[in-house]
C-alpha cells in the first residue's frame, strides 16, 4: 500500500471472451481508495444465455454499484483499522452491506428497464417488477483490502481465493459445502439475493507479508479438471509472482485466461492483488 506500509500492492486484472461467445458478459472493476490505503476489486459474470440477454449490462452495474456501495466503507476501515477493538463492528458492518449492495443493483436495473423495457413494451407503459430483471442476471464477487483487514462478498458462482505464500495451501473462504451443478448459479436477479450473498471477513495478518488474493469468474475454475487443479493455479501464479515479478505475470495473464476460456468455453475474468516489493 503505497505510502502507508512497507509493501506495495500490485493489481492484476484481465478478462477474456469465451469461445463461441459473441461478446464478453463478464465485468471487472479495480480502484484504490484513500490514497491507496485500500483497494476495491470486483468481478461479475453475466449469465449470458438467451433468458439473460442483457446480462452484460447487469454485470457492469454489479461491479459499479458494488464499488460505489463499499467505497465509503473502505474509507471507514482505513480510519479505524489501527484500533482492533473496532474490527468486530467492521465485520458486522460488512455483513450488513449485503442488503444495500443487492438493493442498489436492483434499483439500477429497474430504472433502466423502466426506460427500455426488455419485452418490447413502450417505455413507461408499466412498472417493472422483479421478474423483469431476469434478462440482467449476473453474479458478483467483490473484495475490500486494506493493510489490516480483508472483506469478501459473493453471490453466485466464481471463486475468491487467498494464498498466503506459494508454499501454503490456498483457501477459498467463501466456497460452499456443495458446489453448484453445471451452470446453475445464484444471481442478483433472484428475489432477495442478499440471503444468497456470502460474506467473509478476516485480518490480513494470518496471510503473511506477501499474500496473493484473487477473485475470478467460474470460466477459470471450470476450465480445470477439478478443484485441485484450480487451487494449483493460484499457487502457481503466486510462485510466478515471487520468482518472475509482477510485470512478467501481467504479460502472461491474458494468455492464461485465453487458455482457460478455450477449455471452459465461458468468459473468463480475474482480478487480483499481490503484495510485493
Amino acid at each position: 500500500m503505497t505510502g502507508s506500509g512497507p509493501t506495495a500492492w500490485h493489481v492484476l486484472r484481465g478478462s477474456v471472451r469465451g469461445l463461441n461467445k459473441k461478446f464478453n458478459q463478464d465485468s471487472l472493476y479495480t480502484a484504490s481508495v484513500a490514497d491507496g490505503a485500500a483497494l476495491v476489486l470486483s468481478v461479475a459474470d453475466g449469465h449470458g444465455s438467451a433468458a439473460h440477454f442483457r446480462s452484460n449490462m447487469g454485470s457492469r452495474w454489479a461491479v459499479r454499484e458494488f464499488a460505489d456501495c463499499v467505497t465509503p466503507f473502505a474509507r471507514t476501515v482505513v480510519d479505524r483499522q489501527e484500533d482492533p477493538t473496532t474490527w468486530l463492528a467492521l465485520f458486522a458492518a460488512a455483513r450488513a452491506l449485503a442488503g444495500p449492495i443487492c438493493h442498489r443493483w436492483r434499483e439500477r436495473a429497474l430504472l433502466y428497464e423502466a426506460g427500455h423495457p426488455a419485452n418490447g413494451a413502450a417505455a413507461g407503459e408499466r412498472n417493472p417488477t422483479r421478474a423483469d430483471l431476469i434478462p440482467y442476471g449476473t453474479t458478483l464477487l467483490g473484495l475490500v483490502v486494506t493493510q489490516q483487514l480483508l472483506f469478501c462478498w459473493q453471490v453466485g458462482d466464481g471463486d475468491i481465493t487467498t494464498s498466503a505464500d506459494a508454499g501454503a495451501p490456498p483457501r477459498r473462504p467463501l466456497a460452499t459445502a456443495e458446489e453448484e451443478y453445471g451452470d446453475d448459479t445464484d444471481s442478483l436477479c433472484e428475489p432477495e439475493p442478499w440471503v444468497k450473498m456470502r460474506v467473509h471477513c478476516q485480518p490480513m495478518a494470518p496471510l503473511g507479508p506477501r499474500p496473493l488474493l484473487i477473485a475470478n469468474t467460474d470460466g477459470l475454475s471450470k476450465s480445470f479438471e477439478d478443484e485441485r487443479g484450480y487451487l494449483k493455479f493460484a499457487t502457481d501464479v503466486h510462485s510466478a509472482l515471487e520468482r518472475q515479478g509482477i510485470d512478467k505475470v501481467r504479460l502472461l495473464l491474458e494468455g492464461w485466461l485465453t487458455r482457460a476460456a478455450g477449455k471452459s468455453g465461458d468468459d473468463t475474468t480475474l482480478v487480483g492483488v499481490y503484495a510485493g516489493e
Partner: protein, 450 residues
C-alpha cells in the same frame, strides 16, 4: 512462517496435552479454527489473531475453563492452548469438533440445508431458548448472540452454540458489546449505564429466533432499504434510536416491502398467533423496556406447545402451524390454499403448584407423547424420550390407538361402562371420544374433538 499455523505444528495445554495441527476449518473474525489431533482423538482449536489475543481475553478463557457449563448444546472451551515455540503470547482454546451435519443460519437462509421442516425448526428454536436459559440461570451473559454462533442438525433439531469465549458472569467487563443487528437498542444507542447483560441477551435471542423462523431481521423493513452504503448513523437509527418492528400493530412505517422482502411476509402469514404475540411483545414494548422482554422459559414453553400443534395438510401433506390449544382459528394451507382439517387433540393435565395445568397434542398420525409432557420441571427437552405414540390399528381402517412406550402400565377410564382398564407396556389405548388415560403421578390425558 506466515500467520497461519502449519500442519504438524504442536500446541500444548497447561495440563501438558500435545495438540498437533492437522488442517484448518476456516478463518474468522477473531481467529482461525484448526483441527488438531490429540491422544484422545480430533479436537478443534480456536487460535486468536494476534490483535485479539489480549491478556483480558486470556483471563476470560481461563475463567471459562475453570467454570464449565454442563450442557451438551455448548461447544465450551475445554482448555487454554498455547504455542511452546511462540514468545509473543499467542493463545487459543480447545473445544470439541463441530460435526459436519450441523449447519449455520446463513446456509438455512440460502436454502442449502436439506431435510429441514417446520417440526425440526421448532425444535431448533426450543433448544436455542432452553440452552440460553441454562447459561443465564448461572448468572452469565453470552454478550454476542448472533446468527454466526448457532449451528443446528436438520435431522433432529439438535443445536450447538459456538464461540462461547465471552460467556462469563454478567458483571464482568469483556469489552464485547455484540453484533449491531442483535444489540439491544440501549446498547446500540450507548445509553449511560447500558452494558451487556442477560436482559440485553434476551433481545438478541428474540432477534435470533425471529430470524430462524422468518429468515429476516425483525427491524429491517422499508427503513433498511433506504440505506445505500456504509452508514453508521442509519444503522444506529434502525437498531438503536428509532427501531420499529416490521409488524408493529401501532406503527406501520417499517413494514416489509412486497416484491423485495416477500419471504418474511409469507412466513409471518403462516406464523401461529401465539408466536406472533411474543414477537410483537419483544419488538414493541420489549425494545424500550428491557424488563418486558420475552423470557427464555416463555419462548421455550411456547415452542414446545407450537411443536405439538403442527399438522400436515390432508390435501397436499405440507406441514402447517396451528395455534395451540382448543378451538384454534381455522388455517388455510400455505401451499395448496385449502382449509387444513384439524385432527382431534389429546389434552394432558397435570398438577403444578397446587393448580391443574393443561396442554394439547394434536393427534396427527405420528403424534407422540414425550417425557417432558408429563414432568413438572424440565431442564432439557428430549424428543427421543417417547412415552406414547399414535399407531393405526392393523386391520380396522380409521381406528387409532396410543401405544404405551413406557415400562409401567397406564389406566384407561370408560365413562359409559364406568370401568377401569390397564394398558400394559406395548399395548395401545384406543383413541375415541370420552377417553381418559391416567399416566400416573396425577398426570392424565383426555381425548378432545376440537
Amino acid at each position: 512462517m506466515n500467520g497461519q499455523l502449519p500442519k504438524g505444528h504442536v500446541l500444548t495445554t497447561p495440563g501438558g496435552a500435545k495438540l498437533r495441527v492437522e488442517d484448518t476449518f476456516g478463518s474468522g473474525a477473531q481467529g482461525e479454527v484448526y483441527r488438531v489431533s490429540t491422544d484422545r482423538g480430533d479436537r478443534a482449536v480456536k487460535w486468536y489473531h494476534a490483535n485479539m489475543a489480549t491478556p483480558g481475553q486470556r483471563e476470560i478463557i481461563e475463567t471459562l475453563v475453570g467454570r464449565r457449563l454442563n450442557d451438551t448444546r455448548f461447544l465450551w472451551p475445554q482448555a487454554l492452548v498455547t504455542d511452546p515455540a511462540d514468545r509473543a503470547g499467542a493463545f487459543g482454546y480447545l473445544m470439541a469438533v463441530r460435526p459436519r451435519d450441523f449447519h449455520d443460519l446463513p446456509a438455512l437462509f440460502r436454502r442449502e440445508v436439506k431435510g429441514i421442516n417446520s417440526r425440526k425448526l421448532t425444535i431448533v428454536a426450543l433448544n436455542t431458548a432452553e440452552a440460553f436459559l441454562a447459561l443465564h440461570a448461572q448468572g452469565r451473559a453470552y454478550r454476542d448472540i448472533n446468527y454466526g454462533n448457532l449451528f443446528f442438525n436438520p435431522a433432529n433439531g439438535d443445536i450447538l452454540i459456538c464461540d462461547n469465549d465471552n460467556a462469563v458472569e454478567e458483571n464482568k467487563d469483556t469489552g464485547i458489546w455484540g453484533t449491531s443487528e442483535f444489540m439491544a437498542p440501549e446498547l446500540m444507542r450507548q445509553d449511560p449505564n447500558a452494558r451487556p447483560t442477560v436482559q440485553t441477551d434476551l433481545h438478541a435471542l428474540a432477534v435470533l429466533l425471529f430470524m430462524l423462523l422468518m429468515n429476516h431481521h425483525p427491524l429491517a423493513g422499508k427503513a433498511e432499504l433506504d440505506i445505500r452504503c456504509f452508514d453508521d448513523a442509519a444503522m444506529k437509527r434502525l437498531y438503536g434510536t428509532k427501531p420499529v418492528f416490521l409488524f408493529d400493530p401501532g406503527d406501520a412505517s417499517n413494514r416489509p416491502v412486497p416484491g423485495e422482502q416477500d419471504t418474511v411476509i409469507a412466513n409471518w402469514r403462516v406464523c401461529p398467533p401465539v408466536l406472533r404475540n411474543l414477537f410483537t411483545q419483544a419488538f414493541t414494548i420489549g425494545l424500550a423496556r428491557p424488563e418486558q422482554r420475552v423470557r427464555e422459559t416463555v419462548w421455550r414453553d411456547t415452542f414446545s406447545q407450537v411443536y405439538d400443534s403442527i399438522v400436515e395438510c390432508g390435501h397436499c401433506g405440507r406441514t402447517n402451524y396451528i395455534d395451540p390449544g382448543a378451538n384454534p382459528p381455522p388455517v388455510t394451507c400455505w401451499k395448496c390454499n385449502r382449509t387444513v382439517d384439524l385432527p382431534p387433540r389429546l389434552e394432558i393435565v397435570r398438577d403444578e403448584r397446587l393448580r391443574r395445568v393443561s396442554r394439547s397434542i394434536r393427534l396427527t398420525q405420528d403424534a407422540k407423547v414425550y417425557e417432558h409432557h408429563l414432568r413438572r420441571t424440565v431442564s432439557q427437552h428430549d424428543y427421543s424420550r417417547v412415552v406414547g405414540e399414535v399407531e393405526a390399528h392393523p386391520t380396522e381402517k380409521g381406528r387409532f390407538g396410543l401405544r404405551n412406550a413406557t415400562s409401567k402400565p397406564w389406566r384407561v377410564h370408560n365413562e359409559a361402562t364406568r370401568s377401569l382398564q390397564d394398558v400394559p407396556p406395548g399395548k395401545r389405548a384406543n383413541l375415541r371420544p370420552g377417553l381418559l388415560i391416567e399416566f400416573g403421578d396425577g398426570v392424565e390425558a383426555l381425548y378432545r374433538e376440537k
